[in-house]
């Protein structure tokens, strides 16, 4: 797929996020929009849902479910019109990912902080089975305030686990306020380094940077556990949502705002 097509796909994913949240009348729009390129690249290069024995993707920041569903739809993995059922009873597209309902979900998430531990479990399972599966784990930058993240980071570092790639969607905001107003991240990458990780910081909206880092990981280029801090913009792509935490989670996306947002993408 050419670069232009990939850009087009991400634009479509953004439209689909807005579409599904507009129909659901609620949902985490800002943190979904910040992770579009990340999720798109992970699914495109890392996960082949048609294979039984495949790599895993743990969306630890489960509230970005609309971005995950929209990406699945973009890869033709959902049913026609299914995005309209987001956050409805009997839908496979629950407010936060539900593994019991949707096969593509490798773990249900939603209570923050747990996805990295689950990634370790998948890694250990794959190792016991002598398979060489890779695990992709996506964390939010607010999410890493959870202590369990550091329990799992300590374990990964101590055991030098190189088959898990950890992404942080660094959109600088959390539920209520900015990260810096809540618990400023001081020397974040140094912290991960000290736990035994190799850290890199990239532009989380750059498809080129993301594909480079993912391909390197898949080719076992990293000599240490890998943490990729992705500099992103919350609400990316929609001018009035960017860095505007009112759009962290919308109660009701007005028709006016929805249309305005879609027109910005068209």
């Amino acid at each position: 797929m050419s670069k232009k097509n990939a850009l087009e796909c991400c634009k479509n994913i953004r439209k689909k996020i807005l579409f599904s949240i507009y129909h659901a009348r609620s949902g985490h729009v800002g943190p979904s929009l910040s992770s579009v390129e990340l999720i798109y690249s992970i699914l495109k290069f890392g996960i082949n849902y048609k294979k039984i024995n495949r790599n895993k993707f743990i969306l630890s920041k489960g509230h970005a479910a609309p971005a995950f569903y929209a990406a699945l739809d973009e890869f033709n993995l959902l049913k026609k019109n299914e995005l309209k059922t987001l956050r409805k009873v009997n839908s496979r597209l629950q407010g936060h990912p539900d593994k019991k309902k949707l096969n593509h979900v490798d773990s249900g998430t939603g209570a923050l902080g747990q996805g990295l531990s689950i990634s370790i479990g998948y890694y250990l399972g794959s190792k016991l089975l002598n398979k060489k599966n890779k695990i992709f784990c996506l964390l939010g930058d607010g999410e890493i305030q959870e202590g369990q993240i550091w329990e799992s980071a300590m374990y990964i570092g101590a055991h030098k686990i190189k088959d898990i790639i950890v992404f942080i969607d660094g959109n600088k905001f959390q539920n209520e306020r900015s990260i810096s107003e809540t618990l400023p991240e001081k020397n974040l990458l140094e912290k991960w380094n000290s736990f035994g990780f190799k850290t890199t910081k990239i532009n989380g909206h750059s498809l080129q940077a993301l594909s480079k880092v993912i391909k390197g990981f898949l080719q076992n280029q990293n000599k240490k556990p890998l943490l990729v801090y992705c500099d992103t913009i919350k609400g990316k792509g929609i001018s009035f949502m960017e860095n505007n935490n009112k759009f962290h989670s919308v109660k009701d996306l007005s028709e006016e705002n929805y249309k305005k947002a879609i027109s910005e993408l068209s």
Binding site: K100, S107, Q114, G125, E151
Partner: protein, 305 residues
Amino acid sequence: MTLSIREAFGKELVKIGKKNKKIVAVSCDLKDACKLSFFFNKFPKRSFEIGIAEANAVGIAAGLSMSGFRPFLASFASFITGKNVEIRTSISYNKCGVVIVGTHGGLIGPDGATQSSVQDVAVMRSLPYFEIFQPSTPNETKQIINYTAKNKKPTYLRIARNEVIEFLPKNYKFKAGTPSIIYKGKNNLVISSGPILANCFAAVKKIKKNIGILNLSSLKPLDEKHMVRILKKYKNIITVEDHSIIGGLGSIIAEICAKNKLNKNLKIHGIKDDFVDSDTPSSLEKFYKLDIKSLEKIFKKFFKI
């Protein structure tokens, strides 16, 4: 012959592990106390020491289970069942087959309140898909471990550290969901499970009257129709547990009585809504009136014998 229930658990898991390669062990720096160390020694590659990080261990066990393994995650009941949101999201919500083994439930001794779990059944009962078992003797422990090793459901095992005599009949067969009558008795029934059942058994034997005893080792699932048929036969029913009277075995019976409009004289005997003190297990049993002598008195009074 006495054998501690946790020891029976540890040894049986090794036996099962020889044949069933899907069994793996996850520890949080308490494998010796939980007797998971037997498995660790025998199968080091299938054993994972996570360190003092129970939340991480819950997630890792969930990931192992979703990779097709049957992890036994053991720790003190109070520590591991205290990780409610982790168990709820990573195990229960994923409906994945982790067996959580909580040892040191009940009156464990001088370590005191923080290590003694008297809330674990209440906490675990409310989590969807979980099966909950509390074996009462070493033989029953073996049977329950074999049952859980075979199925794929999220499971909580409440494994006591106590040494218990093998008082169940030799031909005793554990069946998940089915309560088991040990003595039939008449009008009066004692319901319990775990090591405290042995005390109930001894107390009833001393009274030498026609008192029934029921072993409720399968706390969830529970065949309600079967249970109702049993309860209907008795007038006075007392439940006994080394657990809070809120949300445990007594609550299960009270819920069934209420739901099925069974008008019974029901007493729930257990730990009042409080933490328990430090002391030797036998002193604690006396203090909380769960020893043989106290139970004898309580039964006599309640059954008006």
